[in-house]
Symmetry: C2
Subunit: 337 residues, 2 copies
């Protein structure tokens, strides 16, 4: 097995702002895994929130010795070995996981959802994310998002009330709220969420800083909207202890090291009777389509990272009236533009 | 998809006795699922402990309408529909799950472990079960079990001490103990387990009656041997709450409705940092080999149901110095004798 990579700078349609900062571009790495005449594609979209940059991804990929393995079908052993190289490096690990899955699907001539026994008609609608912005830009973004029936609103700032008012003036769509750990006091979180309950909001993601599970559990007892763990839910060992504070989890390939662990997290969350959301970073249609292959198993999709950029190098999953439409090609099912 | 079945009466080499009763024969059903020229094989080995008999299996199979589905790859949808027909009927559901997996593997030309990304060299050793018996028969059984390096001893009776003494006189092998809910008082369980700690025992299965998790947790605080849930662990929703009382779970296809749910249980148990054991009922090499396909993921195998019978109609997994050796054929990998 041979591993190589290319770097891409993704350009965002709008400056993308959330509670902890803003960006205009995003660096990702496309990984190619070649074996036996077949090339599997993977992607790393590193996030500084989890200590990664494109440089850490490149350094990690340099330490991966796939030539130790002669059979890409041995995913469990290969990915365990890759995981053991060092802590963290989630997106770099995800790139290898995705490429191995793409390779396997191509080798068998099967789309991943079919390999996993899933029904392509069961995909959910995806939300479309509206980053933090000035009122006039927010109104423009809502207009541009006309084709998406569910919007995800980034809050967690001092301007939450004016952002929501601007958005509610512009649309009656279902809204999901992501506070990105922005409410630092549990009393603030309760107050904000009680107010959001009146605004036609479906759920709230990560109201409190990660690791404050007691605070979040306290909030949860006092509000009616479901709470979904994002920054608190990185890998599968995190899931069981989140039961006491959250109603569901947001799984992202770039946090959890890829499709194989994402599947384990879905199963664990279901066993714990929790809701499952699949989210993303700013990333190309490659990683988005890989995640979408799992989406027949989930409740809420937020797979819009590719919709926020202007130079997506791939074609993969499509969105029709909000619903994810999986390609009918082997593996992830992407093609280069 | 067409479903049919055959009935078999398995004959036991020795009368098989555990804490709650004994048997000389066991009725199982072999299910055939035919689609597109390929036949997938499944097996139901019903257990009265879970309210099943060969008649309930036949009645359940009569209610399954697989003609609603045109694609056996849609395992998740098909098995959800089958599961929703009625409560219970675990082994009947498992027969369909196993047959669908066998079909899929045969269609793709892949053994199941390879389809799941597992490494066939990572299979564990299986234990061999010694049922409750008189001292002279126990000694004979230990002799017959010479080739198996790990023995599982059935206890949970008033004769536990004499059974263990007889066995320890005959062998120095690693012993695992299964009490099958036989110790009714928590003080008895602690006393028995403290004594077993001196007898070279690796772990104890289901010391207390199922559902007494508080009692089992009380026992666990007072003993040093790991406790494994069997009768307390039926399906995947059971797993998270077992954390507080047990160190691991025993998964059986005939309890959990098959391979797909068994995989979900393995992932959930790992997320909960619990040990995983794969067990069985008295069953043919068909269901044993199906379970063995998952065994590269587990800690402890007790896949010996086929070794206890004299008229196994199939050839599948083999045992070499205790280690499970998976066949290299597509699907489950069994052939008829």
């Amino acid at each position: 097995m041979k591993l190589s990579y290319r770097e891409y700078v993704l350009r965002l349609r709008h400056t993308f702002a959330i509670a902890r900062g803003s960006v205009d571009t995003k660096q990702v790495l496309i990984v190619l895994l070649e074996h036996d005449g077949i090339v599997g594609y993977g992607e790393a979209a590193p996030s500084s929130r989890y200590g990664e940059t494109s440089d850490t991804v490149k350094a990690f990929l340099g330490r991966v010795k796939l030539e130790w393995f002669d059979n890409p079908f041995q995913l469990e052993s290969i990915l365990s070995q890759v995981d053991s190289i060092s802590e963290g490096n989630y997106s770099a690990k995800a790139a290898i996981d995705i490429a191995l899955h793409d390779w396997m699907g191509k080798r068998l001539g099967l789309p991943l959802h079919e390999l996993w026994g899933l029904n392509r008609t069961m995909t959910p609608q995806t939300s479309f994310t509206i980053g933090i912005d000035k009122p006039e830009i927010l109104a423009q973004k809502i207009e541009e998002a006309e084709q998406y029936p569910i919007l995800k609103i980034k809050l967690g700032t001092d301007d939450d009330q004016s952002i929501m008012s601007t958005i509610r003036m512009a649309t009656k769509k279902v809204l999901r709220v992501d506070a990105n750990e922005g409410w630092k006091r549990k009393e603030t979180a309760v107050e904000k969420i009680k107010w959001l309950e009146q605004q036609g909001v479906e759920f709230v993601e990560q109201p409190m800083p990660a690791s404050d599970l007691d605070g979040t559990a306290w909030v949860r007892e006092r509000v009616n909207l479901p709470l979904i763990a994002d920054e608190d839910c990185v890998r599968y060992h995190d899931v069981p202890r989140l039961q006491k504070a959250f109603d569901g989890i947001n799984i992202k390939l770039m946090k959890c090291t890829g499709l194989r662990e994402a599947m384990k997290m879905i199963h664990t969350a279901r066993a714990c009777r929790m809701k499952v959301m699949l989210g993303c970073m700013i990333e190309t249609s490659l990683a988005i389509t890989a995640a979408a292959q799992l989406s027949p198993l989930i409740d809420y999709a937020d797979l819009d990272g590719n919709l926020l950029i202007t130079n997506d190098p791939f074609i993969g999953v499509r969105v029709k009236e909000g619903k994810l439409e999986l390609p009918d090609r082997p593996g992830i099912g992407i093609t280069e533009k």
